[in-house]
Symmetry: D2
């Protein structure tokens, strides 16, 4: 059974009655419930826990991490961000949700500003499937609607994705690449746009289906890569084809090299 951890910033739920009414147990628990219904073993972690609930030992047994953040991106400890990034490169899946486009972990893994335009007007969003039968779009119609969502508009400053799975149409006239896949090291990454805290998005059956699909797609059964930063100096004597060292040398045999 796939082990998923839903990381929630858990700030709006505490400060806003709008959000608390929509998600009495927090957005993270709503998402985790949906995953469990979809046959995934899901637990939660939040910003407020020690190490934000993400010690190394927990990441080691997490197949896929989902990340929702917004108001407190800056409060996330850099050491935890580095740890998560290494876990992704070692083979953990990562699903980045909505306003987490500006999270430290997403910006770190993308290498770009990840900025966009936005408007909070409760307007209609319609998501179109642009990669039919993609594992993340399984069981979905060619398009589906969210009657009230926050608008995110292009240009979205992310690298060209491996695949564009969804594109959104917004009532106010914008479009957005709402479902994008990436791979970083051995880890699968999926960015999924919808999920503004002021609306009941994570209660929507199509959204829940995408999340279950995405976690299933991102999970890898392989043993994690042990050291994702290793850069081994292979000995001349151990070369796969017989060669003789020649010419000048700056490095000693077996030396670690520079970083």
């Amino acid at each position: 059974m796939i082990q998923a951890v839903v990381w929630g910033e858990n700030v709006h739920e505490k400060k806003s009655s709008i959000v608390a009414d929509l998600y009495p147990d927090g957005m993270h628990n709503c998402i985790a419930d949906a995953l469990r219904t979809g046959g995934i073993d899901a637990t939660t972690a939040t910003l407020q826990e020690p190490e934000h609930g993400l010690p190394q030992s927990r990441l080691d047994r997490t197949d896929v991490l989902l990340w929702w953040g917004h108001a407190a991106h800056g409060d996330v400890d850099d050491a935890v961000v580095d740890r998560v990034a290494d876990a992704v490169c070692a083979g953990m899946g990562l699903i980045v949700l909505h306003s987490a486009h500006f999270s430290k972990i997403f910006k770190k893994l993308m290498g770009t500003p990840c900025n966009l335009t936005w408007r909070e007007a409760g307007e209609r969003e319609r998501l179109w499937v642009t990669s039919r039968h993609h594992p993340i779009a399984r069981g979905l119609p060619d398009h589906f609607e969210l009657e009230q969502e926050e608008m995110y508009g292009e240009p979205f400053a992310v690298p060209e994705p491996l695949e564009t799975v969804f594109i959104s149409w917004f009532q106010g006239g914008e479009v957005f690449r709402s479902g994008l896949t990436y791979r970083r090291g051995a880890g699968n990454i999926f960015y999924f746009r919808p999920g503004h805290e002021a609306y009941p998005t994570y209660h929507d059956p199509n959204i829940q289906k995408v999340l279950v699909n995405a976690v299933t797609w991102a999970a890898s059964p392989e043993t994690r890569i042990t050291d994702v930063h290793a850069a081994p100096n292979t000995d001349v004597a151990d070369a796969l084809e017989p060669i003789t060292a020649r010419g000048p040398k700056l490095h000693a045999d077996g030396e670690e090299g520079y970083r």
Copy 2:
């Protein structure tokens, strides 16, 4: 005329007589000379200069930056790295050379460890063109050789590139994706593998041709993007299609949003 800046770490040249003999004026000057011969207006910058020779005013008028580093990656100021990353996203081209696979700027823009295997044995490297007539491979034969080079081997932990332009064969039995293109924001990036300091690689005519081609390919005539991190909140009243705000709101009109 394209304005290029060749950034050299300039450490080996000062400490090793092998490198100093090969590159009496430093590797950066050898590269800059080759670019000038190719019709590019090239200057140099080094680690030892204030702000590593890369103040904002200089980046603003640089079309393409070339980066060679190795022994002193850790000495590069994070503020300069952030400045260069922003300049790339704003439209400046970046050519990353050889051991700069482990530079702060490359790892930041890739979002991955960028590690590999290596061996310093002066073995033969043969580069094969895998994207015929790519602008970066213009004027080159289908393959060319470097009689002595350091080996870099796969797996190379970088994101899937836009295009693979060169793949290297090594005498000792390894292969490596030696020419890779990326785009980050409005900036073109090219990683080019050869260039070990102990060998005369940057004197090689084919290598020089690749460098001239790459700078020409990476340069953009467009005015730089002013603020690569801007995430404007667009007013409901200014929506491109007439909409009426509805539903709950957490943000005030014109608010800046969270980071």
Copy 3:
């Protein structure tokens, strides 16, 4: 100076007074005029000419071919299609316009059905730039509108592109990937969605700018590849590294191999 040929099917212009009124000299001449204003040496070719105006000798000196077809895709000679495909793989650029998504040449180069949904209702289309400062989007604002266009909707059955440059928003609720880049062999390909014959799209300044940009982007100064189908049997005696033939053999030395 870049040599462009604008291929027009030239059928609607002859049969429909609506189209004839909009494009008295044919759509192809309107497009060619725009290219000439942009500094490109543009001529035209039509379905009705011998070999559809595209003999080998003309393709040999064409840098970029633009293709508009709709009502008569089936009348295009397969031999000409094969010839154009080979020219693209040899290094000629190709710009595929609007309803030419169903042309023989585009389907052949994509390897997919290239189908979509559509509606002719004169609705508003808004194109968003998704790859800022891409050479094809140079000088354009982040979005621009066509007040009346035919709708094309996703899913659009094409391969994942190298880059998505434009995405369209339609008044009736659909989205479409309207600007896509591909490379086939040494040839650059750009698909550009707008251009329904019943509307004045090719008179629009932004559309004309995209066409000039796209032709400039697609053109390659390199000499064409001579035989794009060659699969040379390299002799053991000529191997780049000394090897001795061993084991069983089914092929004779220098044999041509199977197709």
Copy 4:
């Protein structure tokens, strides 16, 4: 259980005692046996059967088709090729093996010549994994060897892949992108280089592991897309957002459109 069909040309096995000795039941049966050992329900089809063993009814219930061809590419019926291409776009997986780089089906789906250089000298091939922990590389070491193989060399005229999974090193000095993924419509495609008929490649455990992995990766549990060429004209009255038709029209309501 995944349903795979291994299509074998089955010509060399009949004409060459070398091949018949290596593969007494044909290469296709050797491959099918390996898949069955890997938990896949595999059957075979050959060129000599009616409709080459691939009637529509069989493709309809095939999750993944594997294709090995060489000496008789030209004898494959175009109607069967079109049928297989449509099945792929509808969601069937396709694994293209070795000399099938020149098969009609692969060239059709790629849209390029798919040519390369080659040499039959029984030289050593070493495959390197370039996408660690990719589902197709699961359980494999970072590299593995085939002591005797035919050489295929770059440039390989295929489109830029979604992912490069393997790159081969050859004893005689060449490299080749030996494992490439593509998606065409709803279908996953994997090209895998090794498999010359004169050598025991398909008896190799690592090769068999790749084949089992690739079939598992390519299979999709989704119901097939019914008509992969459909281009529905959506009625104005049925538009998802209320619009009024305006401007000139060339098409009647509900019309089928041109092909």
